[in-house]
Symmetry: C2
Subunit: 196 residues, 2 copies
Amino acid sequence: MKEFIIIGHKAVTAPFSLNDLPGAAGRMDILCRCVNASLFLSHDLRRDVRVYLVLKGGAHPMLIRFDGAAVRYLSPDERSAASLIKKALEKQAQGFWTESMPGVSIKKGDLGDLLDELDRKITYLREDGPDIRVKPLDAGPDLLFVLGDHLGLTDDEEKIIADHEHMIVSVGPLSLHADHCIVLLHNEMDRVEKCI
Amino acid sequence: MKEFIIIGHKAVTAPFSLNDLPGAAGRMDILCRCVNASLFLSHDLRRDVRVYLVLKGGAHPMLIRFDGAAVRYLSPDERSAASLIKKALEKQAQGFWTESMPGVSIKKGDLGDLLDELDRKITYLREDGPDIRVKPLDAGPDLLFVLGDHLGLTDDEEKIIADHEHMIVSVGPLSLHADHCIVLLHNEMDRVEKCI
């Protein structure tokens, strides 16, 4: 299982209008594009992937999970992912995962809670990390990636990561959007799996 | 100047609702994501890039050009690119480029007209082409890429490409969305330019 955690520092935790994802919904567009980049192949889904969104733009942070093996009603466009996130936020979130739609679940919690739950080595994407073509990703199918949104990670979030086993990597010479980083990570893993 | 041509076989050529890009607008969401992938860095634009969209879902095909050096009012979300495409389609398109908004222009025409105008070697993305890590992209900053949407290229479009100097490449072992391919192409060119 490949897992991606994306932190949305401004992303709202209450239902929002689908017509203003960048503004009123707190850059929810970034998270929607990350869902797309994580899960979609051409005419297919990556069923061995889970995406976790950390929504931090409300009074209490929320976690939303998309499971590639179970998700339905998801199309590649931003509005489609946003619609499923909105439906999850309409649920009364608890301290455990509640499924709002097939393959989409919500839970109260922050980055630290999620990392404790997943409890494995983190691959943290940071611009100044060693390049994945110089320091290759760990072998095996079970990688857990953490990426920030347009604001990167805060010092507090970096401390949470530092408390877990982790490695830091980058995906190229320029500063890229999180969803573009995910595309590059997948490509690197695809090449290892297919031995090319 | 790096240039990307993306063919939208179903993309409408009349103004459309921003609330249904995949449906009524004919998979306009794909083209919007390609604009994003071609032009956006984190907190910056790729100013050495032009994107051409070929809209073929109307009675007469239309060409829309986004120029990274001149574009304004473009945000990374799909709706933002769609809004600029819609504004271009509200113009009375001619047989020459007409600017509808800064850095966004429209012209009547099809793939063949555009390739004749640009008049240089094409790099055509096709799944069965040699991998860019095996057959590297041509050196130099002036590459012209052609990518299809979810329908790939038709036989007629492939014949048009065959009439021009071209090479065929792929970006990895799996079948990917056009915008994901663009991210991978940029990364490969970024690495060559930065010598890493």
